[in-house]
Amino acid sequence: MLIFEHSRPGRFNYSQSPAKPASKSAIPQNLQRKSKVLLPEVSEMDTVRHFTRLSQKNFSIDTEFYPLGSCTMKYNPRACNSLAMLPQFLSRHPLAPEDTGQGYLACMYELQEILKSVTGMAGVSLTPMAGAQGELIGVMMIRAYHESRGDFERTEIIVPDAAHGTNPATAVMCGFKVVEIATDKDGNVDLGALKAAVGPKTAGLMLTNPSTLGVFEKNVAEMSRVVHQAGGLLYYDGANLNAVLGKVKPGDMGFDVIHINLHKTFSTPHGGGGPGSAPVGVAERLLPFMPIPIVAKDGETYRWITEKDKPQSIGRLSAHMGNAGVLLRAYIYVRLLGLDGMHRISEFATLNANYLMAELRKAGFEIAYPNRRASHEFIVTLKDIKDKTGVTAMNLAKRLLDKGYHAPTTYFPLLVPECLLIEPAETESKETLDAFVTSMKEILQEIETQPDMVKGAPHAMPVRKLDDVKAAREPDLAWKQGA
C-alpha cells in the first residue's frame, strides 16, 4: 500500500510545522502556486508505521549475509553513524567560517593523510561523491595533465573488457574514445592486446586490480611500463582495494591516479544506493590538477585550499565538500581499525573468499578461474547447469533469497556466462559461510529434483518474481491522484 493511499484531505501533523500562519508575505501573485501539491496527508504515527514496515521488506547487512560481488558489503559500525551525527556536526553550515569548524576540518585533514599513506599517493582530495564521480574526476585530471603539456592528441582511454561499466561511460563523459582490450584465459588483461593498443593517442589505461574477475593482475608492473612508455597515465579503479589494503599500494604499482570507494573498503553505509564517497589520490605530477576543496594544515590551524592555491585545479565538482558526513564515518572507521586493523581487512577478506571458493568447489560448483587464487571475491559459473537443466544464474540467485541470503552479483562480469560473483567480506564468520554453502548444496539438489520450483523462485519474499519487461515497456514512474 502506497503512502498516498493512507492519505486523507485535511489530515495534518500539527507538531511538525509552524503553528501560526506567517505574518508577512510579499510574493507577487503571478508567482504563487495554484496547483495542489500531492504530498501525502498522513498522521505522524501512520508515517512511522508505513516506513518502518517498508524497511522490514529490505534485505540488508544488518539482517542478512550479502555476498554481493564487487560491492564489499561489510559491517557498518554503529558508532560511525552515531558519532558522525553528533548535533554540532549536523548543525554546521557548510559556509560557516573555518574557525568554527576546526574540529570537523581536523578529521578531514587526518583522513586525507591516512588515505595518502595506505595508497601510496602524493595527494588526496575528498570531494568525489561516488565511485563514478571519482572516476570522472580522475580522468579529468588525466586530460588536464596532457593538455597542460600542450598534448591535445591523446583522445583514447584503454579499458579492459572485464571492467565495470562506469569505466567506459566515464571516459566518454570526459570526451575520450574508449579502446577495449581483451582478457586472457587466466583472467589477466591480454598483455599483447595492450601493447597493440597503446600509442600516441593513449591518454591512459583504467584498471581495476584485483580485477572484477576476482584475480590479481600479475602483470601490472609490465602494464604500467607499457602505458607510461607510450605517454599515457594509469588510472586505478579502487573498487577492489579491500582485497589488497595494507598489502599493495596503488602508488607502488605505478598508478598515477586512483579513486577509493569509502562505501566499500572503508565501510560507510550503502544506504540502499548511496550516498557513496570516493576520494581521489594522485601521484606527484598530478597534484596541481586536483579538485578543490582540500583541507590544508597551517601550523595548528586547518583551512580550505581554494582556487587561489591551486590555479590549475580541474575545479569544483560538488557544491560544498562532497559527502561530508560520509567522510566523517570513514574517518571514524579508520581510527577504530588503526594500523593493525587496516592490514587485517585484506587478509581476512581474502581468507573468507578463498575458503568459500574451496568449499563451493567441493560442493560441486564450477569455479570460473579454478587455477587462480581468489582475491576477496571469485566467480562461479552455472553454464553447464543451465545447459543441462535450464536453470540460470538468476534462478539460483532468486532461490538464495528464499534461503535468507542476498544473492551474489549475477551476469557480471559480462565475459563469464551464467556467472555469480561472490564476495563474502572479512566481517562474516566461518559459521555464516558454512551455512551459505549448505544452502547452495540444497539448491544444487533442488535443481536436480525440482528445477521448475527453482525457476519459479523466489517463493518466500514479499513479492514473487517481478516483471521487468512490463516495467520498461509501460513505464509507471509516479503515482498520480485518481490514476
Partner: protein, 450 residues
C-alpha cells in the same frame, strides 16, 4: 582485530580446507616486489570509547551558532522520526536494490519519492536522485544538449549559484559544451526578460532559470521560459524544493512549462552537516525520460499479478550500455532520499507551505529590522523569498567577524563572488528563527555598525 570474527580455530580450519599454510600464502600471486612494507602514517586503533571521546571533543570544539547563512544550504526543522527511521539497519546497510524481490522497502520508497518530486516540481517524472544540486544541474545541461542535438551551448544567468556554475563548467566542458553566462540587472537583482529579448542569443540548447535565484530574488520565470522555448531551446529550472509549496512549479512556468527541473534536495529533511551528504533532484517531462541519467524506479507486477517495484529503463545506464550510456552515474543518494521521503510524508503539503511561508516572513521581518539600522540597505528592488542581499557601510568580512564573537553567523559574504556589488551580505532567516532571534540579530548588527 575489530570487526573480524575469526577465532584461531576458524583460521586453521579454513586454511586447511583451502590447502594453504598461512594467510600470507593466499597473496602468493602478487609479485613480491609489490608487497608493501609496513604502513606508516596510520595511528594505532582506538576503542569505541576512545573514538567517542575524541569525536565529542571535536564536535564540542565546533560548537553551536545562531545561523543566518543560506546560500544554497538551509537550516530547517527536521522531525525526529525522519532520521530514527532512516538509520534503521534495513535502510542504512542495504545496497542498491538490484534484487528487487528482496528490496521492496527501498524500491517502494523511491517510487513514492519520485511521485512526490514530480508533483512538487509539476513535472511528469523524477529520477531517484543525483549527487547534489550542482551536479544535477550539470547533468541537466548534458541531457538538454543530448536531446537538442543541434546546439552545444548552454545559457546560465549569473544569478545561478556561483559554485553550481563552476561545477557545470567543469563537467560539461569535457564534452566541448559551451557555457555562456548572462548578466543580471544590478538594480533589481534579476535576469530581465526584456534584455534577453534584445540580445543576440540564438543558437543554444537550454536556458537555466533559477527560482529563487542565488540572491534570494524571485525571477520572472514565465517570460524566461517562454523566451527559451521561442528559441527552440529547453528551459531548465533550478529550484529550491521548500519554496515550491508556495511558488509556481517549473512544470507550470510560462505557456508550456519548463522541460527539466533540478535542485538541491537538502532543505527536505537533510541536516546542514558541513555540506553533505545532500542529494540533487531531477524531474522532467515524459518526452525526455529516456535521456534522464540516474536510477529510475517503476511499478510493475509479479507472477501473481501483485504490485511490486523494480529498477527500470536500465537501458540508459552504464552497467548495461557501458560507453553508450546517458551518464556514468550508478549510485544515487539513496539514504538521503529515504530521509527526504519520510520528511515530506510527515510535513505534508500544508506543513511544507507553512515552513516556506514562515521562512519568507522571517526574512522579511529581519530585513525590515536591519534596514532601519544606519549603514544597512536593501541591495536590490526585486521581491525576495527567504534570503536577501544587504549592502553595508563597512566591509562584510569585518562585520561577520564581529557578529561571530556574539555567537551569530550573520550570513554569506557576496563580495568574493560578486565584487561588483561592493559590501554586500546575503542573509537568510528560516522558520527556525524566533522573533527574539531576529531582534537579537538586529541588535547585534546595530552594535557592530554603531
Amino acid at each position: 582485530m575489530p570487526f573480524i570474527p575469526h577465532t584461531k580455530e576458524d583460521v586453521a580450519e579454513m586454511l586447511a580446507s583451502i590447502g594453504a599454510k598461512t594467510i600470507e600464502e593466499l597473496f602468493d600471486e602478487i609479485p613480491k616486489e609489490l608487497i608493501s612494507d609496513e604502513l606508516t602514517g596510520v595511528p594505532p586503533g582506538l576503542s569505541e570509547m576512545e573514538i567517542t571521546r575524541l569525536m565529542m571533543a571535536r564536535a564540542t570544539q565546533d560548537g553551536f551558532y545562531q545561523n543566518f547563512i543560506g546560500a544554497g544550504a538551509y537550516e530547517h526543522h527536521i522531525p525526529a522520526a525522519v532520521w530514527q527511521i532512516t538509520t534503521r539497519g534495513e535502510f542504512y546497510s542495504s545496497y542498491t536494490p538490484y534484487q528487487a524481490e528482496a528490496s521492496q522497502g527501498t524500491l517502494q520508497l523511491l517510487y513514492e519519492y519520485q511521485s512526490m518530486m514530480a508533483s512538487l516540481t509539476g513535472m511528469d517524472v523524477s529520477n531517484a536522485s543525483m549527487y547534489d544540486g550542482a551536479t544535477a544541474l550539470a547533468e541537466a545541461a548534458l541531457m538538454a544538449v543530448r536531446s537538442h542535438k543541434s546546439s552545444r551551448r548552454i545559457l546560465i544567468p549569473q544569478t545561478v549559484h556561483p559554485v553550481y556554475r563552476q561545477v557545470v563548467r567543469a563537467i560539461v566542458s569535457n564534452q566541448k559544451i559551451e557555457v555562456v553566462e548572462l548578466p543580471y540587472c544590478t538594480e533589481c537583482g534579476q535576469i530581465l526578460p526584456e534584455s534577453l529579448a534584445n540580445s543576440n542569443h540564438e543558437d543554444f540548447a537550454a536556458l537555466v532559470i533559477p527560482q529563487p535565484n542565488f540572491f534570494g530574488v524571485l525571477e520572472q520565470v514565465d517570460a524566461l521560459t517562454d523566451w527559451a522555448h521561442s528559441k527552440n531551446a529547453f528551459a531548465i529550472g533550478v529550484v529550491n524544493p521548500t519554496t515550491l509549496a508556495v511558488l509556481t512549479p517549473p512544470g507550470e512556468w510560462g505557456s508550456k512549462g519548463a522541460d527539466i527541473a533540478v535542485g538541491e534536495g537538502q532543505p527536505l529533511g537533510i541536516p546542514l552537516s558541513s555540506g553533505g551528504p545532500y542529494f540533487g533532484f531531477m524531474a522532467c517531462k515524459n518526452e525526455l525520460v529516456r535521456q534522464m541519467p540516474g536510477r529510475i524506479i517503476g511499478r510493475t507486477t509479479d507472477l501473481d499479478d501483485k504490485e511490486g517495484f523494480v529498477l527500470t529503463l536500465q537501458a540508459r545506464e552504464q552497467h548495461i550500455r557501458r560507453s553508450k550510456a546517458t551518464s556514468n552515474i550508478c549510485t544515487n543518494q539513496g539514504l538521503m532520499v529515504t530521509a527526504a521521503t519520510i520528511f515530506m510524508s510527515l510535513v505534508g503539503a500544508e506543513g511544507l507551505r507553512r515552513v516556506a511561508a514562515q521562512s519568507h516572513a522571517n526574512t522579511l521581518e529581519l530585513i525590515e529590522q536591519l534596514v532601519k539600522i544606519k549603514g544597512v540597505e536593501r541591495t536590490f528592488s526585486g521581491p525576495v523569498f527567504h534570503e536577501a542581499p544587504l549592502t553595508l557601510s563597512q566591509p562584510v568580512a569585518d562585520v561577520l567577524n564581529k557578529l561571530k564573537q556574539k555567537g551569530i553567523l550573520g550570513g554569506y559574504n557576496l563580495q568574493g563572488q560578486y565584487p561588483e556589488l561592493g559590501n554586500t551580505l546575503l542573509v537568510c532567516a528560516t522558520e527556525t528563527k524566533t522573533e527574539s532571534d531576529l531582534r537579537n540579530y538586529a541588535t547585534a548588527m546595530q552594535q557592530v555598525l554603531g
